[in-house]
Point group: C2
Chain length 361, copies 2
């Protein structure tokens, strides 16, 4: 027990609404050898006991927060979610100065994998191949040569160039594609193009050097000029706001189709943000008419998508139930951020992913 | 007709064993505006008429070659295949000095896409998701969170670091993986690590800078030391030779499994070279025992794989019928090499991908 040799100077409270499996508990203990770790399984509408909060010096949580008077020993609160919308009005946020850090930045790798998996499976006849294997049938090259396509040279347009869009861009560049970035506000300088949040080591586009062009704006004209670049893959990676609700609909799909220059692939839509950013009825129409060749949708409007919704069977559509960021790495990776910040705290350095009170992010 | 304005100074003969579809014929004419293009559909055991050969100054072919006495006007022969094994004993190779160029280098992008598609689909429950969609079922996050895994941090070992292995490495690096390269002969210097053949623009690893370590050798001990690095993905991208036949079998799979350090993924095998490099019975055993978590196989022994072969249903195996390089880009991309070389010929520069008579490659 090497860990036993290290003096326990912190008391880490990990609160989650699911049971944390024993291997993950062991992982947490190994990762924070300087802390006595308490794992607490919270339940809806049942408050976490006050003495549990009072004892903690560090907290890792999803939805639970302490009352102000029980937070006296807490030096840092880390949340397992990407944002803090779900508790932005809590007194801990409003009336304390306890640093809060988010898990923003951990979603890029799985969501980039999910995106590219959908593209490749759709362009390289993956389901056809699996079906033949199931029947023990060795296929004919003629089933593949005239129909499979690859991604080299395709133009990718990413609406919302945050940590997720950046890792998608990184993989796209390696596949030989060119990336065009779109952001709400202008990013004219190298400094403005940098990703200053947490980045999973070895991934992303920290300096924003991958896009061959940058575009911006919140008005229709700016979006339309972006959609006229000749984009083969449009990726929606925007937050849902009143401005972005139904931002992409019939007119936008028509623009994509009209400006497509690829010799044999019509534009393809990927939505990993929120279903309501898309006019979903218009999407079904554009898939049926062939304006779009397909769509990978991890989000729909509403969720769950009703069983009788026409989107399920629209041509070329691949739907998953809002799971593109999920996997066994999710929780350990969130704890990586707490680990980094604990080390920074000891050195008196600024935290990464700290929520800036007053700025709202 | 812009092309008509250009003087036709060459006569390009394109011979293929399949009919070339009209859009591709148009593409060829656009690509070689300085040439009168003749498309010839060859048939097995029927020689191409002599006057067709005699007229040509440039030839693009797969299996057909002219007699020496009909090749008087030919300045360059480009073959659509990666090597020239299939006609190495032909008098044109043996007794002429007509430059021959190959299509080596065009297979990297589709084969890298095929490789990564198989990994991601297998690790992210793609078939499960498609099955649920077919039944209009919105899944539960709990089906994904505890079972999906991503590729970040995984170690990739590539046996045979040619143009295909290099593009796989390029995509792996973007996914956050680390790459270890293995070659037959040592590559100690930057010059020895370079890819000097044709590279599809925007892809590959021209300078050989992606691998974090390089290994080499033809003996068992060298291979075994490589397989002991803790490799999560072993990729077979070697030519089949007497030395590489059954190179990877029971002992090698056991070594991979014994040295695996990944917290929850056992080693995975990818074979894109030839089925006989693997001891296939041993592979079935290692998949059944759980030593390996799965295998993506574009090649088997024999091909076609007989319908009653146990490999079809081995756990975690994904088989495709030797099609990983195929797609609509295949032929146009091969012609890109001829285009490059035609431009080089005009400038008196060395050809790319030229077969070196006497050297045997």
């Amino acid at each position: 027990m090497d860990a036993a040799a290290i003096r326990k100077t912190e008391r880490l409270l990990v609160i989650f609404f699911k049971r944390i499996p024993p291997p993950l508990v062991a992982h947490i203990n190994r990762k924070f050898p300087e802390a006595e770790v308490t794992i607490y399984h919270s339940q809806k509408a049942v408050p976490v006991p006050r003495d549990i909060w009072q004892n903690a010096t560090l907290v890792c949580t999803f939805t639970d927060l302490p009352d102000l008077e029980d937070a006296g020993n807490i030096k840092l609160i880390h949340t397992v979610s990407a944002g803090i919308d779900h508790f932005v009005h809590h007194p801990i946020i409003q009336n304390s100065t306890i640093p809060i850090t988010t898990s923003s930045g951990i979603h890029g790798p799985p969501m980039a994998e999910w995106t590219v998996m959908n593209w490749l499976a759709s362009a390289r006849k993956f389901l056809h191949t699996r079906e033949a294997q199931k029947q023990h049938i060795w296929g004919d090259p003629d089933e593949y040569m005239p129909t499979c396509t690859d991604q080299v040279g395709k133009k990718v347009g990413i609406l919302g160039y945050g940590s997720i869009g950046r890792q998608i861009a990184n993989v796209c560049a390696a596949l030989g594609m060119t990336v065009h970035a779109y952001t709400a506000s202008p990013r004219p300088t190298p400094a403005s193009r940098r990703d200053t949040g947490y980045i999973v080591p070895g991934t992303g586009d920290a300096d924003g050097t991958i896009p061959v062009s940058w575009h911006h704006g919140l008005d229709k004209a700016s979006i339309h000029s972006f959609l006229s670049l000749g984009i083969d893959h449009l990726i929606i990676s925007l937050p849902l706001t009143p401005q972005t609700t139904h931002l992409i609909g019939a007119e936008e799909f028509a623009l994509l189709a009209a400006n497509s220059t690829h010799p044999f692939s019509k534009p393809y839509l990927t939505n990993i943000s929120r279903g309501k950013v898309i006019d979903q009825d218009a999407l079904v129409q554009s898939l049926k008419s062939g304006e779009l060749s397909g769509a990978a949708l991890d989000v729909t409007d509403p969720e769950p998508l009703p069983a009788d919704h026409p989107l399920w069977d629209a041509p070329g559509v691949q739907i998953s139930p809002h799971v593109s960021s999920l996997g066994r790495e999710y929780f350990p990776r969130s704890l990586d951020i707490l680990r980094v910040n604990l080390d920074r705290m000891k050195k008196g350095e600024e935290f990464v992913n700290e929520y800036k009170r007053g700025k709202g992010y």
